[in-house]
């Protein structure tokens, strides 16, 4: 055990709930409580709550912040000009490769960026080194707690917690809320599970109270990072480090939709993206459904007629489908849905078929 892992404000709550803790991006995080499959299915059928306070939050403000972020991020921030709007976006390096995937919220007077915990320092340094003098940036990660409330019953529970007069935000929108009549926070209709749900941006010192109030509902189960991963993979959502990194561009990764052609401003990496869109990438990220038994894992070889042609990005057992599911980078010729490929799972060659995401359909 290493002693220098960072703890979120909910660390003691996780231990009290019997969580199994793991090192995730330098944080001591719950991977599971009752069991990954049970937590996964609880989120799909009722409500799961997730401590995602390890994720990084940066506030970007100042007169130049709009122009700055338009130049740094692939998506078009003019599309979130209204206060409370949120957007999924990418940050690219000069080669057009992916530094991180982010959510940007327009809070009205500034932008709030939520970044992957593992990329906090890298993202900060990249943004800071490009920042003009009329932009201010603050790293709010330690002061900010984040709880995801996800599942078909999430709306009803949030309504009960925030009062009947509270109007829940639309999808990809952020609104202020008062939890249990006493705790001010921001509530976004976003998530990483494929279920209807919310993400609660809470002051670090209020996090334990909010967590406990949520758990006081019988319908609510605590869910760890294990099920967070299986839930997102069933939807085909990307995970940085598995499905994209600084060797992959957005078009190969299937994220061209986050790089709108109609955006007026130039951004770092745009020339590479537009060129890749025009000529077509050599490799594409595909979604593979296992036809045989076994569990695909990150880094396993993908075969076509016995020859290695690709590599697994994300792989897991799907609790909803009870089958192995994976993403993989393969030659663009093999990216069509219906294409038969194989995955080398240690000594077994297991057949798989390219499918259109999501794996799990509601």
């Amino acid at each position: 055990m290493t002693d220098n892992l960072v703890r979120t404000p909910l660390y003691d709550e996780h231990l009290a709930l019997g969580a199994r803790m793991v090192d995730f991006a330098g944080f001591d995080m719950p991977v599971q409580y009752s069991g990954i499959i049970e937590e996964h299915l609880a989120t799909r059928s009722s409500v799961g709550i997730f401590d995602v306070s390890h994720m990084a939050e940066f506030r970007v403000a100042g007169p130049g912040c709009y122009q700055f972020l338009q130049g740094m991020l692939t998506n078009d921030i003019s599309l979130i000009n209204e206060t409370g709007k949120a957007q999924y976006t990418l940050m690219l390096n000069d080669d057009g490769h992916i530094i991180d995937d982010l959510i940007v919220y327009n809070t009205g007077f500034e932008y709030l960026i939520i970044a992957n915990a593992s990329n906090r320092e890298k993202d900060w340094n990249w943004l800071w080194s490009h920042k003009p003098d009329d932009v201010d940036m603050v790293d709010e990660t330690e002061r900010t707690g984040l709880i995801a409330v996800q599942g078909p019953e999430a709306k009803r529970i949030m309504q009960e917690l925030c009062g009947q007069d509270w109007v829940a935000p639309e999808r990809f929108t952020l609104v202020p809320a008062t939890i249990d009549g006493r705790i001010s926070c921001l509530v976004a209709r976003t998530g990483y599970t494929g279920e209807d749900g919310f993400e609660l941006i809470v002051h670090a010192e209020d996090l334990v109270t909010v967590w406990r109030v949520l758990l006081s509902f019988n319908e609510v189960s605590p869910v760890g990072l294990g099920a967070r991963d299986t839930l997102r993979l069933e939807m085909g959502y990307h995970l940085y480090g598995n499905d994209m990194d600084e060797t992959r561009d957005p078009i190969s990764a299937g994220l061209g939709w986050v790089c709108p052609k109609a955006k007026a401003e130039d951004y770092t990496g745009r020339a590479v993206v537009e060129n890749m869109r025009a000529v077509g990438p050599k490799e594409r990220l595909v979604h593979l459904l296992l036809e045989g038994k076994g569990v695909p894992r990150h880094g396993m070889d993908v075969l076509k007629d016995g020859e290695v042609v690709g590599i697994v990005g994300s792989g897991s057992h799907s609790p909803s489908l009870q089958k192995g599911i994976a993403t993989a980078y393969v030659p663009a010729d093999y990216a069509e849905p219906g294409t038969k490929l194989d995955i080398q799972i240690r000594k077994n060659v297991v057949p798989a078929v390219v499918v259109k995401p999501p794996f799990y359909k509601h």
Binding site: I36, T230, Q322
Partner: protein
């Protein structure tokens, strides 16, 4: 955690119940708990032979995969086919319905190298 006294244990977390020259093998309560919900088991075929310490299969949970090791040498005479469709039986009932393989031992003397229940439990502290 429960460790039955009717059987012996390996430090690799397998148990073995002996009846004459034959023996039944599975994984312990501790092993199934550490692994989490089992979603896949890869077992050998009848007639395969292994030395003590050989890998005879794999057991996989959502998050991890573990190899299965032969506590003693022998030939596979039966495998638990039911685990193919219901691998979670290993979590629910590791000592009875969650058994994995039945073997004919080639050298029952090797049983002396294995641990009693209390000795095995002591290795887990």
């Amino acid at each position: 955690m429960e460790f039955l006294k009717d059987r012996k244990y390996s430090s690799d977390h397998e148990w073995i119940v002996v009846e004459g020259d034959e023996a039944t093998i599975g994984i312990t309560e501790y092993a199934q708990d550490a692994l989490g919900e089992v979603v896949y088991v890869d077992l050998p075929s009848e007639g395969d032979t292994f030395e003590a310490g050989d890998t005879f299969g794999e057991v996989e949970s959502v998050k991890s995969v573990s190899e299965l090791f032969m506590p003693v040498s022998g030939e596979i005479i039966a495998i638990n086919d039911a685990l193919d469709d219901a691998p979670e039986t290993i979590n629910d009932d590791p000592y009875e319905n969650g058994w994995m393989i039945r073997i004919t031992m080639s050298d029952p003397e090797e049983l002396k190298n294995l641990l009693e229940a209390d000795e095995y439990a002591a290795t887990l502290d």
